[in-house]
Amino acid sequence: MNRIKNFSRALLTIMLVGGSLGASAELAAQTGPQRLTLSEAQAIIAAAQRDAASKNLRLSIAVVDGRGDLIAATRMPNARPTTMDTAIGKAMGAAIFGRPSADLAERADSPLYRNMNEATGGRLRFFQGAVPIVRGGYTVGAVGASGASSQDDEDNVRAALAAVGL
């Protein structure tokens, strides 16, 4: 009896998940992918803070949307105040170019990158420590961290995204 109940529950779950996946793909084709919500952004930041605390790092962490506009940001206790704008700038770059900010470092002086930085108010930071958030083949946002070594920053945001399943 229980086995049948469990089986039917599993079947229902599969149908629901499958259905919603199909629906979201259809929606994405019409309107673009589902945007990153504030609660998702805050979940990413909370996960990043947990990861940072476990490694004894003090970071600023920022989440931006697919356009590079800020959704949420937090500076951990005793993180340097100036790390905040670095975290935001790295996340903006990762979102706008749709690739990890580490990949942008070598092109930072190219005319396209300099122009893009001018167009966004000079706020981009082309250093390692931010990665894009991809959903349905679209960059829907990016998360960046600053305050440790740039490799630690990047490891931190990757761990955070893995923790929340993005």
């Binding site: 504030l38 949307d65 506009d69 959704i71 949420a72 500076r75 105040p81």
Partner: protein
């Protein structure tokens, strides 16, 4: 064999050398740890990050009750951002306005809404050019006090400026006493 006095001096200088060597070794052993500690960052007074997050949640609840979408920002007494949240549906530029109003309030220790006249003055214009980062002298941000000391400010943007300020006021209790 040496004479007693010489032996004594040799022994004592040996002890001295051992003490010096020991101290030097201890200093060297301590040096890498000290080098890694690149100086603790001395941040200006400000609310804690937990308080800032709690205040953002409180402001969000107030905004949801009024059916508006806001961005809110909490800054420390230097005007540096501690935490920020843009609610789903709030316009993209509201993050900058919320942050700019909060900075205004933090740098002058007043509600940003009380500073409209100053905001129109040439003195403010030159100030705004001197201090990096935008300042907004509009209603919607309030200072955060602790034991009579200004420790930061919180600002919201996205609705009518009075509504922005009401959302901040609803969240200020998170920071404890307002005096």
């Amino acid at each position: 064999m040496c004479r007693r006095s010489q032996c004594g001096s040799v022994r004592s200088s040996g002890v001295l050398a051992a003490v010096i060597f020991g101290a030097a070794a201890a200093a060297f052993a301590a040096a890498p740890a000290a080098a890694q500690q690149r100086g603790a960052p001395a941040a200006p007074p400000g609310p804690s990050a937990d308080q800032a997050m709690a205040a953002l949640h409180a402001a969000q609840e107030a905004a949801e009750a009024l059916d508006v979408s806001l961005s809110c920002a909490v800054v420390d007494s230097r005007g540096d951002l501690i935490a920020l949240a843009r609610m789903d549906g709030a316009r993209f530029y509201t993050t900058d306005v919320a942050r700019g109003k909060a900075r205004m309030s933090a740098l002058f220790g007043q509600p940003s809404g009380d500073m409209a006249d100053f905001g129109n003055s040439p003195a403010f214009q030159s100030f705004n050019e001197t201090i990096p980062g935008p300042l907004y002298a509009f209603q919607g941000a309030l200072p955060i006090m602790r034991n009579g000391e200004l420790i930061g400010a919180m600002g919201c943007s996205g609705a009518a400026s009075q509504v922005d300020e009401d959302a901040v006021r609803a969240a200020l209790a998170v920071f404890g006493s307002s005096r």
